[in-house]
């Protein structure tokens, strides 16, 4: 609908508008930046809590210890029965021999332990089956089922470390962060919309004469509106650049310190936009939010004050 020359003129006028009211533009850009920074921090904190919940959840399982001398066939049958249950995601069978070999391997440096093991005639370690569930709330039920199930006489112990309380707390914290953060984001979004609305209104007012003449000598409506939208887009783009720089600096700091504390390894990317966990989503997401806010408010100002 527009040729490149017209687009060039619209964009150019948008830049001129931005520059002519540089202080107002700076204020609008600043408010937008604050909104984006709050949003980013919210996303990071939410990402960290989710990451932590996953870490803790990953460590939960049900361990079933079998009595010494239980036939392997029985245990294998038990394992395959468990696998058929829909709530079970993984079953790992470790035979007594394997357990002993693994134990010896981990204590290969410790002669005292190895010596005392050799003194025992029987393998002191039991055969175990580790059970993992998809959902954290299924564990108590699975553990109970095993304890009272058909293999009861072969089982010496069912161990289920109940981390649910911890996980629940993390979950509550993350909910609180999301709710509180969303309220903050909403408040600042409204402020950003108002500030941009006022800035664009002022630009429209400053260019009242020009707009009227443009209209009367045959400018199309979009030719008249375009520069104001470009001006508001500039707020978004500049704010996104500033925010990205700030957030990238913050996250690289976080990544090197707190993440190693949480995961115990110090590896992996910080899952900023959980569940995507990808950096490539961050900047486009910020830009999208910024553009939505600024275009919404400039369109409001244009509809209200730009007489076409």
């Amino acid at each position: 609908m527009f040729d490149s020359l017209t687009i060039f003129r619209i964009v150019k006028t948008g830049f001129v508008n931005y520059w002519r009211n540089i202080w107002l533009s700076a204020a609008a850009t600043m408010v937008m930046t604050i909104t984006l920074v709050i949003f980013s921090i919210l996303a990071i904190v939410f990402g960290i809590t989710q990451f932590s919940i996953n870490q803790v959840t990953d460590r939960v399982d049900v361990s079933v210890y079998f009595k010494p001398g239980t036939a392997e066939g029985v245990i294998e049958q038990f394992a395959s029965d468990l696998k058929k249950k829909p709530e079970v995601s993984a079953v790992t069978y470790t035979s007594a021999e394997d357990a002993l070999a693994a134990f010896k391997a981990t204590h290969a440096q410790d002669q005292l332990i190895l010596d005392s093991l050799d003194e025992l005639s029987d393998n002191p370690l039991p055969a175990t089956v580790q059970v993992k569930a998809d959902k954290i709330e299924d564990y108590p039920h699975i553990a109970e089922g095993i304890q009272n199930g058909g293999y009861k006489e072969h089982i010496s112990k069912v161990n289920f470390e109940d981390n649910r309380l911890l996980i629940e707390r993390f979950g509550k914290a993350s909910k609180l962060i999301v709710v509180g953060g969303s309220v903050l984001v909403a408040i600042f979004s409204i402020i950003a919309i108002l500030v941009i609305f006022n800035t664009i209104t002022l630009t429209i007012y400053n260019r009242k004469e020009e707009v009227e003449i443009m209209r009367l000598v045959g400018a199309t409506n979009w030719y008249i509106r375009g520069p104001f939208i470009i001006e508001s887009l500039l707020y978004s783009v500049v704010a996104t650049i500033i925010t990205s720089a700030l957030v990238l600096a913050l996250v690289s700091k976080l990544q090197s310190s707190s993440l190693s504390y949480i995961s115990g390894t110090g590896e992996g990317n910080l899952p900023l936009f959980y569940p995507y966990g990808q950096w490539t989503y961050t900047i486009p997401a910020l830009l999208l939010i910024a553009i939505l806010l600024s275009v919404a408010s400039s369109m409001l100002a244009i509809r209200k004050y730009l007489k076409i």
């Binding site: 003449i213 000598v217 045959g218 400018a219 409506n221 030719y223």
Partner: protein
């Protein structure tokens, strides 16, 4: 070229125009005269679509303006040159830029603008003032720049609303000569004015309106009132 058919226009309770019937032909020079408040500006605004008729039709080359979509009005306006009663030059732009602005807005290329604007300024006799701002020019010169701007996109129709309003006799005569010259070059001209002696001199068709009605139509008439 333009036909008014029984046109009525209200502003609230004010009847600005009542039952206007009028035809303006291609290449014509027509003067609309009347006292202040007679409805001259309103008549011109109906042609550019700035105002809409409440009753009757306004046709440009047999196209009913009421049926032109709002989004298509700009393209209509590019075919018409309008010299506004209040001039409407941009104070922060030079004579050249004011004329160029109108061309930019309707999508002309830069090199075309660079070529055309000096020609138009030459036509109105103000090429030597191209770098001056409106406040550095006389009323007559400003009026001629406004005429230059209205001619920028080579309109088939030029409408001048009170172009001699605040001018002394000499300047008014100059502006009028310019309009006659433009008309000779093939552009249809509509001149709205209340200056009696002015239209008496030029011996062209005169329409007299009073209280929104055509009260007198003269082919080479003299303005009475």
């Amino acid at each position: 070229m333009i036909r008014f058919e029984n046109v009525i226009k209200y502003f609230g309770n004010t009847k600005a125009l009542s039952a206007i019937d009028l035809e303006i032909k291609h290449g014509e020079f027509i003067s609309i005269v009347g006292l202040s408040g007679a409805g001259k500006s309103t008549l011109l605004k109906l042609v550019t679509g700035e105002e809409r008729a409440d009753e009757g039709r306004v046709l440009i080359d047999d196209i009913d303006i009421a049926k032109v979509k709002v989004s298509d009005l700009p393209y209509l306006r590019r075919k018409i040159g309008m010299v506004f009663q209040d001039i409407k030059l941009l104070p922060k732009r030079t004579a050249f830029e004011n004329v160029a602005f109108a061309m930019e807005v309707s999508g002309h290329k830069r090199d075309r603008i660079e070529k055309e604007v000096p020609k138009i300024l030459e036509l109105v006799g103000l090429l030597h003032k191209k770098h001056n701002f409106p406040n550095e020019m006389s009323g007559g010169e400003r009026q001629r720049i406004a005429i230059a701007r209205s001619l920028a996109h080579r309109p088939a129709l030029l409408m001048a609303d009170e172009p001699t309003g605040n001018l002394d006799e000499v300047n008014a005569a100059e502006v009028l000569d310019l309009l006659l010259k433009i008309n000779k070059l093939g552009t249809t001209v509509i001149l709205a004015t209340h200056a009696s002696d002015l239209v008496n001199k030029i011996k062209k068709r005169v329409i007299t309106i009073e209280g929104g009605r055509v009260v007198l139509e003269q082919e080479r008439g003299r303005y009475k009132l």
